[in-house]
Symmetry: C3
Subunit: 153 residues, 3 copies
Amino acid sequence: MRIAIVSGKDEGPTKLNAFDNALSNAGIGDVNLIKVSSMLSGNAEICDLPKLKPGAMVNCVLSSITSDNPGDEITAVVAVALGEELGCVVETSGINKNPNDLIKEGEEMVRYMMEKRKVEIKDLIVEYSTTKVEKIASCIASVVYLNYDIEER
Amino acid sequence: MRIAIVSGKDEGPTKLNAFDNALSNAGIGDVNLIKVSSMLSGNAEICDLPKLKPGAMVNCVLSSITSDNPGDEITAVVAVALGEELGCVVETSGINKNPNDLIKEGEEMVRYMMEKRKVEIKDLIVEYSTTKVEKIASCIASVVYLNYDIEER
Amino acid sequence: MRIAIVSGKDEGPTKLNAFDNALSNAGIGDVNLIKVSSMLSGNAEICDLPKLKPGAMVNCVLSSITSDNPGDEITAVVAVALGEELGCVVETSGINKNPNDLIKEGEEMVRYMMEKRKVEIKDLIVEYSTTKVEKIASCIASVVYLNYDIEER
C-alpha cells in the first residue's frame, strides 16, 4: 500500500468553493474523493503525490474545516502512525483552537489506536493546515491511497 | 467516462423512507450509492440512466433534502459543467428557498470551479427536484457514474 | 453477494477512540470502511465475518452512535430484509430511546422498503448493540459486503 499525505488551504467566494480551492491547493482538487475510515496495511509506504487523472476515483482520509466567520483561526490535522502489521490514521480539526493542541490530540488518539492493537509504531507523521479566515476559508489535510489506476503517466 | 443525471421526489412514512422513495423515483433506489466528490474526466458523455443491477455499487454525486415539516418547499440541485480537460459538479439544496435562486447559486459555483481550473465550459446542465411537503417528503438530484459492471443487460 | 452482519460496543478515552474500539469489538476495526446506501442483490447470503486483511477497502452499511454523557443509554440497529430479487437494509440509532422501539422502527422501515418494491421478504434479521455510557462510549451495528479481495487466507 502506497499513500501520500497532503494539506492545503484557500479562500473562496462560497464555502463550497473555498473547500474546493483548498483541495486544489493540496493537489487533489481534480479527482473524486471517496472518504474511507482510516486504516493502513502493514508497512505502508509514503510517497509524493503523483499527478492524478482528472475524474479518477480516489480513496482518502479527509480532515477538513471551513468557516465564513472572518477572523476565525481554522486548522485541519491528520496524524498517521505506521507499523509492521498495520497503520492507523486520525483526523481532527477545529475552529479557534490552538493548532498545537489539535496536533497533540491527533497524535495521542493515533498512539492509543496503535497501542490498543498492540502494534509498535515505526513512524508517526502529522500533517496539518491552518489559516486565519479573511472572508470564507477552508483548510484540509488528507491521506490519499495511491494505486496505478488513478495516476497519470 | 459516462454519466447519467437524474432527479426524483416522493413522500414517505418516515424521513428514511421518503428519501428511499425519492431515490426510487429517480431510478437509483435499488443500488448501493457511494458518494464521491464531484469531478468528471474530460469529455464526459451524458447518457440516459440504464437499468442498474440490484445491489450494485454505484458512485454518484448526490444532492438531497428531506423535511417532515408540512408546507415546506424543498429543492435539491446538481449543476454539471463539462469541458475538454475535465468537468465539475456542484450540489446544493434548500428549504423554503426560491428554486431559481438555488439553481443560479449552483450554476455560479460550478462556473467558478471551471474558471479556477482554466477549463472552458462546453456544456452546463442543471438538474433539480422541488416539492411542497405534505407530511414527510424528500427531493434528490444526482450525477451517476456509469460503467458496465453496474448495468443490467 | 455475501454479507456479514455484526455489532460491537466499547468505551474509549475520546469519542473517536470509543468509536474505533466499538468497530474493533465488532471485528471490523482494522479495515477501511466505505459507507454505502443499503441495498442487497437478490438471494444475498449471510456468512460469518471472515478475517479481513488490515487496510482492505470494505463496503458496509454502518449504524453508529457515540456519547460522552455518562448515564446515556445508546443503541445502534441494522435491520436486514432478504428477498429473491433484492434485499434492503435500514440503519437507525438513538440516545435514551427504548432499544425495542428502535428495533421495531428498523423492522417497520425495512418492511415498507420491500413492500414498495413488491419483493417478498424471505428472511428478516435485526442486529443491534446497546450500552449505558460510563464515560465515553460507542455502539455500532453493520452489514459488511464481503468479497475475496478483502479476506485474509
